[in-house]
C-alpha cells in the first residue's frame, strides 16, 4: 500500500502539471478546476500515508552505477511534511482560483505549483541523498519560476534569480555532503549513513555537518543567507504562502532535523546551529518591526520563526522544532493568504496606505488576528505551545544568554505583529482605497487554516508517536501526550515569556508616550531598514563578478595575431612547467 501511496502523492501532482501545461491558457475555468482536482488528489493520498509510518524502505527504483537506487522511506518526519505540503498546497491552489482570476499564463502558474508539490513530497520522503538533492534543486527551480511569474516586472525577475542563486549556493553544501557520504560509506542511503556515521573520519564528518548547515541556512533563509526571502515576496501571495512559508523554506529545517543524530557530536556544530537560529530570529524580528510592506513583514517573520526552529534543533529538541514547524506552517500560511486577500482587495502592499480594512473585510480581519495571535505566541493557539516548548528546551540545554535573546525576540515578535494588525485593520483609512469583496474560494482556503491554528496543538501526542521509535530509529523522540505537554509548558519560564509579550503589547499601545525612546533607537532603525548591510554585501558580490567578466573581455581581441600568440604562449608556458617540474 505504502509504495503506491508514495508514487501517487508524487505522481498525481506531476501528471497534473504536465496536463495543465499542455492545456495552456485556452480555457481558464477548466484550468483552475483541473489544478484543484490534482492538488486535492495529492492531499488525500498524503493523508492516507499517515497511519503507515515506518522506518522500512517503502519504494525502490533501481538505477545503479554512481547514482544508487532511488529509494523512498515513509517515516514520520517525511509523512508529516508531505501532508503539510500537499494539504496546504491544495488550499493555496483553491485560493489561487480567486486570486489569479483573469491572469495570463495560468497554465505555466499551475504547472509549476503542482510540479513543486510533487517535488516537495519527494524531497522529504526520499532516502537516497542524491535523490534528495535532485528534488531540492527542483523545488528551487519551481520557486524561481513562480517568484518571477510576472516576467515583465524587473523586480520579480530579479527576486526570482536572487532566490535561485542564493539557495543554489547553499545547495552546494548539500551536494558536497551527499558526495562525501557516497565516497566514504559507499551508498547514498540516509538510514545507512545515520547508522554508520562514525566510520567517517572526524574532519570529513565536520565538513559534512557544516556543509549541511550552510545548505539548510540558505534554503531556510537563515543568517547569513536571509536576503532572498523578502525579495521573493514579488511572487503571488498563494506562492508566498505555500513555498515561502509553509513548505520549501522548511526544507532546510527538515535537513537539520533528519541528520541531527549524526551531527550532534561534531565539535561546535550544535553551538553554530543555535547561533545561526538565534541571529536570524533577532535580526529578522528587528527588520520586521521597521518594514512598511505587509508581505515583507510576514517574510521577515518567517525568517525569525525558522530561526526558532533551527535554534531548537541546536538545543537538541528535534520534536519541539518540528512541532513549531507544524504550527508555523498553519498560521503563516493563514497570515499570507489573508494578507493576499487584503492586497488583492485593496490593491497595495503598503501598510501606511491601509488602515481600517477590518471594517471592509471583517472575516479576513478575524482570521488574520487568529494567525497573529498564534505568531505572537499567545495561549491557547498552536503557536503558543510550540514556541514555549522550544524556549523550554533552550533553557534546559542551551546557554542562558541565548535563551534571554530568544525571549526578547518573542517580545519583538508580539510587537511587530500587533503593529502589523493595527496598521492594516484598525484605525482610519490613511488613503483612498476601494476594497472589493473576496470570493468563496478564498474563504474556503482561510477557514480551515484558522480552525487548525486553534486546535492543531491537541495533536501533540499523536505527533510525538509519529516521530517516535518506530519510524525514526536514530532520533530517540519520546512519546508526549498533549496533557503532559500542557503540564510542561504551563510553568514559571512560560510566565516570564508571557510577561515579556504583554510588555511588548503595552509598548505598542503607549507608543505615543514613548516617542523619545523610539527616537533614541534611530540608528538601529536605519541599520534595519538597510538589512544590516547584507543587501550591500549581495550587491557588492554581483558588481565584482560583473566587472571581472567585463574586464576579461579584453582577452577576446578579435586580432588573429594575438590569438595565435595565445596558442604559442600556452606551449611555452606548459614546457616551462615541464622543465620546472622535472
Amino acid at each position: 500500500m505504502t509504495p503506491i501511496l508514495i508514487a501517487l502523492t508524487i505522481g498525481i501532482p506531476w501528471l497534473g502539471a504536465i496536463i495543465v501545461w499542455l492545456m495552456g491558457d485556452r480555457r481558464e475555468e477548466l484550468t483552475h478546476w483541473v489544478s484543484i482536482l490534482f492538488s486535492i488528489g495529492a492531499a488525500v493520498t498524503s493523508v492516507l500515508l499517515l497511519p503507515n509510518a515506518s522506518r522500512e524502505t517503502a519504494l525502490t527504483i533501481p538505477i545503479g552505477g554512481d547514482f544508487g537506487d532511488f529509494t523512498f522511506v515513509a517515516d514520520g518526519l517525511g509523512i508529516f511534511l508531505s501532508v503539510i505540503a500537499a494539504v496546504i498546497g491544495s488550499l493555496a491552489v483553491i485560493f489561487s482560483k480567486n486570486y489569479m482570476k483573469g491572469e495570463a499564463s495560468l497554465g505555466r502558474y499551475y504547472a509549476f505549483v503542482l510540479f513543486f508539490i510533487g517535488a516537495m513530497v519527494g524531497l522529504v520522503l526520499s532516502s537516497n541523498l542524491l535523490l534528495t538533492f535532485l528534488f531540492w534543486e527542483i523545488t528551487a527551480l519551481c520557486s524561481y519560476a513562480l517568484i518571477s511569474f510576472h516576467n515583465d516586472d524587473p523586480k520579480a525577475v530579479k527576486g526570482g534569480i536572487k532566490a535561485l542563486i542564493i539557495t543554489s549556493i547553499g545547495g552546494v553544501g548539500l551536494m558536497v555532503g551527499a558526495l562525501i557520504v557516497y565516497a566514504y560509506t559507499g551508498s547514498y542511503d540516509i538510514n545507512n549513513f545515520l547508522a554508520n556515521y562514525s566510520t567517517i573520519p572526524g574532519n570529513i564528518l565536520a565538513l559534512l555537518a557544516f556543509g549541511f548547515l550552510i545548505a539548510a541556512a540558505a534554503k531556510s533563509a537563515q543568517f547569513p543567507f536571509q536576503t532572498w526571502l523578502p525579495d521573493a515576496m514579488e511572487a503571488p501571495s498563494p506562492i508566498s504562502a505555500l513555498i515561502h512559508a509553509a513548505t520549501m523554506v522548511n526544507a532546510g529545517v527538515y535537513l537539520l532535523a533528519r541528520f541531527y543524530p549524526a551531527f550532534k557530536d561534531v565539535p561546535y556544530w550544535s553551538e553554530a546551529v543555535m547561533i545561526v537560529g538565534a541571529l536570524s530570529a533577532l535580526l529578522a524580528a528587528v527588520m520586521a518591526l521597521v518594514s512598511n510592506d505587509l508581505k515583507r513583514v510576514l517574510a521577515y517573520s518567517t525568517v525569525s520563526q525558522l530561526g526558532y526552529m533551527v535554534y531548537a534543533i541546536g538545543t537538541g529538541s528535534v520534536y519541539a522544532s518540528q512541532f513549531h514547524l507544524f504550527s508555523h506552517s498553519i498560521f503563516k500560511a493563514l497570515l499570507f493568504l489573508s494578507a493576499g486577500a487584503v492586497i488583492h482587495s485593496i490593491g497595495t502592499r503598503n501598510m501606511l496606505e491601509m488602515g481600517g480594512v477590518g471594517k471592509k473585510l471583517p472575516l479576513v480581519k478575524w482570521v488574520f488576528i487568529i494567525g497573529a495571535l498564534a505568531l505572537a505566541g499567545l495561549p491557547i493557539l498552536n503557536g503558543f505551545w510550540s514556541k514555549e516548548l522550544i524556549l523550554e528546551s533552550g533553557l534546559k540545554n542551551g546557554p542562558l544568554w541565548l535563551y534571554i535573546v530568544m525571549v526578547f525576540v518573542a517580545g519583538l515578535t508580539a510587537l511587530y505583529t500587533i503593529r502589523c494588525v493595527w496598521l492594516v485593520f484598525f484605525g482610519e483609512p490613511r488613503s483612498e482605497y476601494h476594497a472589493h469583496a473576496i470570493g468563496w474560494e478564498m474563504i474556503a482556503a482561510l477557514l480551515p487554516l484558522a480552525g487548525a491554528a486553534l486546535v492543531s496543538w491537541l495533536a501533540a501526542g499523536r505527533f510525538s508517536v509519529l516521530l517516535g521509535e518506530k519510524s525514526l530509529p536514530f532520533h530517540a523522540i519520546e512519546p508526549l501526550p498533549y496533557k503532559e505537554m500542557m503540564h510542561e509548558v504551563l510553568s514559571l519560564p512560560t510566565l516570564v515569556v508571557m510577561v515579556v509579550i504583554t510588555a511588548a503589547i503595552l509598548l505598542w499601545v503607549f507608543r505615543k508616550k514613548l516617542e523619545g525612546l523610539i527616537n533614541g533607537l534611530k540608528s538601529i532603525r536605519w541599520a534595519a531598514e538597510n538589512s544590516f548591510g547584507f543587501e550591500a554585501i549581495n550587491n557588492a558580490i554581483v558588481k565584482v563578478t560583473q566587472s571581472t567578466a567585463e574586464a576579461l573581455r579584453v582577452t577576446q581581441t578579435g586580432i588573429l595575431n594575438w590569438n595565435v600568440f595565445g596558442i604559442l604562449a600556452s606551449v611555452i608556458i606548459l614546457l616551462a612547467i615541464l622543465v620546472l617540474g622535472a
Binding site: G65, N151, I165, I169, V176
Partner: protein, 503 residues
C-alpha cells in the same frame, strides 16, 4: 557479411554518400526545382539512417565475435567504447541537424554543398573515433577540420562569417602544425606510430615524450577550445548556420577532445601527471567560459562561450580519471559529452529556429540578441520551451540530463579523497550556479508578455524545424530521470579510456 566489410562500410559510406548528394543537388539545381533539392535532403537523411543501421550491425558483430577492427597496411582501426559513443553521438546529432536544416537552409545558395559537407564531417568524426594510430588520428582529424572550415564560412557573402572562418582556419592550422611536430618527435624516438606499440615503448623517463605530449595537448587543444586557445570559438560558433553551430559545439570540439585523449593515452607510463594538466585547463575553461558568457548580448555567442565551460567539465572528469585512476571520472566525462551534445545541440537548434523566424526568413543576416527573445514564448511556444529546457539543463538543473552527468564527474572528484580536488569540486559546483546567472534571465525574457519588435514581426515557425526540438527535449528529460539508460555507452567508453591509459 564479414566483420571487415561491415566495419569498412561504416567508415566509407559517408564519403561515398557526400559526392552523390552533392552531384544530385548540383545537377538538379535549376531555379525552383523543388524535387531535386528535396531528393537531396531525403537522400542525406536516408544515408544517415543507413549509417545508423550499419553501426548497430557492427556493434552486434563486435559483441558476438569479441571485437571489430580493420587493418589498413599495418595500421589498425579499432572499434572500442570510445569509438562507439562518438559514433552514436555524431549520428544522432547529425540526423537532428539534417532534419532541422531542411527548413533552415531552404533556398540558401549552395544548399547541396551543406549536406555533402555535413556527411563528410560525420564520416570523419566516426573514423576519428576508430583510430588507433597517430597517422589515422591526424588524417581523420584534418578531414573533419576541412569539412568544418567550409561549413563555418558557409555564408560566404557575409563578412563576419568569412572572418570567423579565416580565424578558425589559421588557428586550427597552427594547432595541426604542433600536432605534426609532436607526432614527428614520437616517431623519431620510437620508430612507430601505432598506439598499441607505443604503450610498450614509452618508458617512464622519456623527456622527449613529455615535450611531444605537451605539443599534442596544445595542438589538439586548439580544436577542443582549451583556454587560451579558444579565441576562434565565439566567432565560429555564432557565425555558422545554426545546425552547424550545434554540430560544432556538440560534437566537433568533443572529437578534438577524444583525439587528445587518444594521443596522450600512450603516455600513461611516462612519469608526468597528465591528469593534472587536464584538470588545470578544465578549471580555467569553466571560469573563463562562464565569466565571458555573462556579458554577452548575442544569444549564439553566449551559447558558444558556455561550450567552453562545458568542455571544462569534461576535462575535469577525464583529468580525475587520469590523475587518480577513478573510473567514474572517465564515465562521467563521456556522459557529459553525451548530455552536452544533446543540450547544447538543442539550445543552438532552438535559438536557430528563433533566429530563422525572426530574421533569416526575411533575409536579414543579423545576430539574434537577447532583446529579440522578449516574449517569444507566446508566439513560438515549442521553440521557447525547448530553449528554456536546454539552457536550464546546461545550468545543471534537474530533471534535465546535465544534472546527472555533472554529478558523476563530481563523484570522481570527491572519491579521489584529496583536499585540493575537493576544492576543485566546490569550484565547479559554484561555477554551475554562476552559469545560471546568464541562463535564467534568458528564460525569463522569453516568458514575458510584452513581445519584442522582432517577435511581433516574426514569421511563422515551419513545422519540420520543431521535430528535432521535441525529440531532443524528450531525450534530455528521459536521460535526466533515468541516467542508467545510457550507462552502457558511457561506461564502455570510460573502460576503454582507462584501459588505454593504464595499459
Amino acid at each position: 557479411m564479414t566483420s571487415n566489410f561491415l566495419f569498412s562500410s561504416l567508415l566509407l559510406l559517408p564519403f561515398l554518400a557526400a559526392p552523390i548528394v552533392y552531384m544530385l543537388g548540383r545537377l538538379t539545381a535549376r531555379n525552383g526545382n523543388v524535387l531535386g533539392i528535396s531528393l537531396t535532403r531525403a537522400l542525406t537523411v536516408f544515408f544517415l539512417l543507413v549509417e545508423g543501421c550499419l553501426l548497430y550491425l557492427v556493434v552486434k558483430q563486435a559483441l558476438s565475435s569479441g571485437g571489430a577492427y580493420l587493418l589498413i597496411g599495418d595500421e589498425p582501426l579499432v572499434f572500442d567504447g570510445i569509438g562507439l559513443i562518438l559514433a552514436c553521438v555524431v549520428l544522432f546529432l547529425g540526423l537532428m541537424v539534417t532534419l532541422f536544416s531542411i527548413d533552415y537552409m531552404n533556398n540558401e545558395k549552395g544548399e547541396e554543398k551543406f549536406y555533402a559537407l555535413l556527411l563528410t564531417t560525420i564520416g570523419s568524426i566516426i573514423g576519428l573515433g576508430m583510430s588507433y594510430d597517430l597517422f589515422n588520428l591526424w588524417l581523420w582529424f584534418e578531414a573533419m577540420a576541412i569539412s568544418t572550415y567550409l561549413l563555418v564560412a558557409f555564408y560566404n557573402d557575409e563578412p563576419p562569417s568569412l572572418e570567423a572562418g579565416v580565424k578558425y582556419l589559421v588557428q586550427s592550422a597552427v594547432g595541426s602544425a604542433l600536432v605534426m611536430f609532436g607526432i614527428a618527435m614520437i616517431f623519431s624516438q620510437t620508430g612507430s606510430i601505432t598506439l598499441t606499440d607505443l604503450w610498450q615503448l614509452t618508458s617512464s623517463e622519456a623527456p622527449l615524450a613529455k615535450i611531444a605530449g605537451v605539443l599534442l595537448i596544445v595542438g589538439f587543444g586548439v580544436k577542443t577550445a582549451l583556454v587560451p586557445l579558444h579565441t576562434w570559438l565565439p566567432d565560429a560558433h555564432s557565425q555558422a548556420p545554426s545546425g552547424i553551430s550545434a554540430m560544432l559545439s556538440g560534437v566537433v570540439i568533443e572529437a578534438g577532445l577524444v583525439a587528445m585523449l587518444r594521443a596522450i593515452s600512450m603516455f600513461g607510463k611516462v612519469d608526468f601527471n597528465w591528469g593534472a594538466i587536464l584538470i588545470g585547463f578544465g578549471c580555467l575553461n569553466i571560469l573563463i567560459g562562464n565569466l565571458m558568457a555573462l556579458r554577452q548580448t548575442q544569444v549564439k555567442r553566449l551559447l558558444a562561450y558556455s561550450s567552453l565551460a562545458h568542455v571544462g567539465y569534461m576535462l575535469l572528469g577525464f583529468g580525475f580519471s587520469m590523475a587518480f585512476g577513478r573510473f567514474e571520472g572517465a564515465a562521467g566525462g563521456f556522459f557529459h559529452l553525451l548530455t552536452h551534445s544533446m543540450m547544447k545541440g538543442l539550445a543552438f537548434l532552438a535559438a536557430g529556429a528563433l533566429l530563422f523566424t525572426l530574421h533569416l526568413s526575411k533575409q536579414e543576416h543579423v545576430p539574434l540578441t537577447l532583446d529579440d527573445l522578449n516574449g517569444a514564448s507566446r508566439k513560438y511556444p515549442v521553440a521557447a520551451f525547448a530553449l528554456g529546457l536546454a539552457v536550464l539543463g546546461l545550468g545543471g538543473i534537474p530533471p534535465m540530463a546535465g544534472f546527472m552527468s555533472k554529478w558523476q564527474i563530481l563523484v570522481a572528484g570527491v572519491k579521489a579523497e584529496n583536499t585540493l580536488m575537493l576544492i576543485v569540486v566546490i569550484f565547479a559546483a559554484l561555477n554551475s550556479i554562476l552559469s545560471l546567472g546568464y541562463y535564467a534571465p534568458l528564460v525569463n525574457r522569453m516568458y514575458r508578455h510584452e513581445p519584442s519588435t522582432a517577435v511581433e514581426q516574426g514569421s511563422k515557425m515551419p513545422g519540420l524545424i520543431i521535430v528535432p526540438l521535441v525529440i531532443l527535449s524528450i531525450a534530455i528529460v528521459v536521460i535526466g530521470v533515468w541516467p542508467s539508460s545510457v550507462q552502457f555507452l558511457t561506461e564502455q567508453a570510460g573502460l576503454s579510456l582507462l584501459y588505454t591509459f593504464f595499459y
